[in-house]
Each structure stands twice: as C-alpha cells, then as structure tokens.
C-alpha cells in the first residue's frame, strides 16, 4: 500500500487508516459526523494526494483530449475546468475526472486514485498520432483541499493570487506558503472550497500552515468517511458506486457531459450515440427513506413500491448528517423515477418506504 507524504500528520492526528484505491488513507480523525458538520459550518482539510494528476501538453493537446474524453476540453478557457468522463470504445465508463486548462496547449486531468492506471493507459494510447505528450505526475504531486464556508478566509492569506477573483471551477498558478502550487476552486463536498496541487514533499509544511491558519476558523482534518457523506448529500456520483463500466452516462444523469455535438470522432462516440437512441433501461434517482432504516450499496429497490420483485438497486446510502434523514441514490426503471414516486428498499427482512426526491439532497446557502 502506498502512503502520501502526509501520512505522519494523519498518524499524529489519531486518524483511523484504511486501504483505498491502493493507498493507506485516513477514513476519519475525530469522527465522521463531526468532520462532516465542520465542512458544512466552518471548514475541513483533506489529503487527496492519492488522486491522479496527468498533464497533457502540446500543440495537439486539445484535439487529443477531445478524442480521448467525452467532453470538449477545447471549449474551456485557460484557467477553467470541466467535469468529464472517459469511456471505453463500447461506451463503458472507465472513470469520471476533472479537466483543467492551464494554458492554451496544457491541461491537467485528475482521475480517481483507483482508476489512475486505467486512465493513464487509456489516455496514453489515445494520444498516439496527436502532437501531445502525457506526463503522469501523480506520484510527485500532492493534493490538499480546504472545503467549507470559511475556506477562502483560511486559504487566501497563504496564497499570492486573488482568490476572490477565482471563480468556481477556475484554476490559477500561485505561490502557496512558499511553494509553487496550482490553486483550483473545485471540490467534492457541495461547499465552496479550494484544491491545492503542490509538489509531493511540500505538502506537510503546507498542511501545517493551513491547520495553523484555520485554527480560529474551525478548520479540522477530514477523512474519506465524511468525504463520502458530503458528496452524497451534494448528489455527486462516486465511481464504484453510481458509476462503473456497465453504466452509461445517460443513465447516470450525466448526458450533459457527453458532447456528441463536438467535431470529430472520440472514443465511445458510436456506442454512446446508440445508447442515446435507445430508451433508458434505468436512471439514477435520489431517495429519502420515509421509515426508519439505512439503505446501503447493493440493497434491492422495489420501484414502484408495489412492484412484485426488485426492479432497482441502491448505489449509495447513509443517514444524512445535515438533514437528519436516511438518504440514498439508486438506479430504478425510468417509469418509476419521477419525483414523488414511492418506492421500497429491501433492508434485511423488511421493506422500508422511500420517496424519490430531486437531487441534490443538499445545496449550500448562497
């Protein structure tokens, strides 16, 4: 198992560590609920150094990425980011990722830790024939995130760029506590916040500076446990739960990401066009349980509740720390996916009533 350069910080903070995507990562420090609430009400500091960082550069970078991904990175202005997907030729989802345009001919692609190698292999293969080079910087790039309503106040004093001018899904190079950084206004929590890409060995000092800067503002270190509950409340999919090789983007509600209108071929285009032409066989919905229980990944769903046998499945579920009710995401038949439809989740020996609600479950106050 790999360890990030912040391992000693996690151990010193009393983190409980688990294996995640080949990495030994903190799942919690003080407790998932406390960390979750800190991010909603103040701020949380995350070590995301396990995630991948692939730099794609060259005169053909735009064309290469337009071919490799389902989105259209050529539409990005320099300093902007987009959520994207990388599909196999059969339309199967290899991963979801964020693409940042750092310069006219230079991009940063950030895949999930567990899919880093699959994405790197696919991108490398797809770059052949384009004037573009791939640099997998994952193991020499650390990633720290500060998320929550107090994030800007904590991060800004350590950065020599104007964070107030950095819009959501923007990225800028900057000096951060004495090191070169890329600072992005992105995240996976449903809150305002920043992600800081820095050299591997610079992360511990930056971590300490951020913790110090956030002491009076309620900043706490946050593990993967709360990261999962935060993203679930925000209705964001997680690869391995909502997304996998068998899911197509339209079923996952990500059709907007697929730019079938872009010029030229891209990997998965014909399969995705065919998928779009067919009626959907399932669609991702949000559920709120109306009786007691916790819906978990893999639990069958009777959709609608009167169905004779299970017709759907839960992809993620928890008790929402913010809302105080059990929430879940699930794939259900499209004709049982309208908001207000009553379903039933099979939990052990019983059936628990659940209602389809609009996603996200939680939106931050603006």
């Amino acid at each position: 198992m790999r360890r990030t350069s912040l391992y000693d910080r996690h151990a010193a903070a009393g983190a409980r560590l688990i294996e995640f995507g080949g990495w030994e990562m903190p799942v919690q420090y003080k407790g998932i609920l406390e960390e979750h609430r800190a991010v909603r009400q103040a701020a949380g500091l995350f070590d995301l150094s396990h995630m991948g960082e692939l730099f794609v550069a060259g005169p053909g970078a735009v064309a290469a990425l337009a071919y490799a991904l389902v989105s259209d990175p050529g539409r990005l202005a320099v300093g902007r980011a987009q959520y994207s997907l990388i599909c196999a030729p059969d339309g199967g989802l290899i991963d979801d990722l964020i693409v940042y345009r750092l310069a006219e001919e230079r991009f940063l692609v950030v895949p999930n830790a567990g899919n880093r190698e699959a994405v790197t292999d696919a991108v490398r293969e797809r770059l052949a024939g384009f004037e573009a080079q791939l640099d997998d910087a994952s193991l020499r790039t650390a990633l720290l995130a500060v998320q929550g309503p107090h994030a800007q106040g904590i991060v800004a004093p350590l950065i020599d760029a104007d964070l107030g001018a950095l819009r959501y899904y923007g990225i800028t190079p900057a000096r951060a506590a004495g090191t070169d950084a890329l600072v992005a206004r992105t995240g996976y929590t449903g809150e305002d916040g920043f992600e800081l890409f820095v050299p591997w060995d610079a992360a511990p000092a930056l971590w300490d500076r951020l913790m110090e800067a956030g002491r009076g503002a309620g900043l706490v270190p946050v593990g993967l446990g709360a990261r999962d509950t935060l993203r679930l409340e925000a209705g964001m999919p997680l690869y391995g739960n909502e997304l996998d090789w068998t899911v197509n983007p339209f079923e996952a509600g990500l059709g907007r990401v697929v730019r079938l209108d872009k010029a030229g071929d891209f990997v998965g285009r014909s399969a995705l066009e065919a998928a779009l032409a067919r009626p959907l066989s399932r669609t991702l919905v949000g559920l709120v349980l109306r009786e007691r229980g916790v819906a978990r990944h893999g639990y069958p769903v009777f959709a609608p509740a009167a169905a004779a046998s299970p017709t759907g499945v839960v992809t993620s579920g928890t008790v929402s720390p913010t809302l105080g009710v059990p929430i879940a995401m699930a794939y259900v038949p499209p004709d049982a996916s309208a908001v207000g439809t009553m379903e039933a989740v099979a939990i052990r020996d019983g059936r628990v009533a659940a209602e389809v609600v609009a996603l996200p479950f939680y939106s931050r106050p603006r």
Partner: protein
Amino acid sequence: MDVPDGLRYTDDHEWLRVEGDAGVVGITGYAADQLGDVVFVELPAVGARFERGRTFGVVESVKAVSDLFAPVAGEVLEVNPALADQPELVNAEPYGAGWMVRLRLSDPAQADALKDAVAYREMTKAG
C-alpha cells in the same frame, strides 16, 4: 477504553449486566469506538425470545452495519426507546443511556460463561 467491572462481556463486544433473573444488554465502548458514529439501531419487539448467540438486532454507523448477538438466552422485556431518535447515545454512553435491551434470562447461569472485565480488557488490548 472504559471497561466497567461487574459486567459480563462477549467476544462479539456486547455487555450484560445481570439484575436478578433479568439482564441489560448493550455494546461495549470499544465496539462503539470501532464502529464510529452510530446512526441507527434496530431492536427486537418486546416479547421476542432469543437463544444465546442469536442475532437480536442491528447497529449501524455511518460506514458499517453490525449484527447484535444475544449474550445469553432470554425474552425481551424492554428495549431502549431513546435509541430511535438518539442513536448517538451508543457512542456517548455505551454502558449507560446507550443500553439496548432488557432480557428475562432463560438461564442466569449462562452469564458465568461470559468474560469478566479483566478478560475483556485483555482481549481488546490484544485486538
């Protein structure tokens, strides 16, 4: 981790406090800490009967689902009504307000087969 004297403990981390021919059951502070924040407790109906070692309920934390095993055979006399709305009591006071069920013991002698506090402390120290 707090392991009160005078209680009996199972290898599955339940505790039993014998009160005459009845007994109160909960999970240990060690178990609650390992589970993390408890968000849901499913308990049996009053009157339900369980053999020793049988599943009598479920405790769920944010990340994990765990069965509750009856430390001894018995009939449920009472369940902790507070846990429906305050499952966090299991973390806050595992040996107090976080108790789960009160049983009429079928055979009070079964309690003697369970670990005492010294043995349970030893087990969780090693684990």
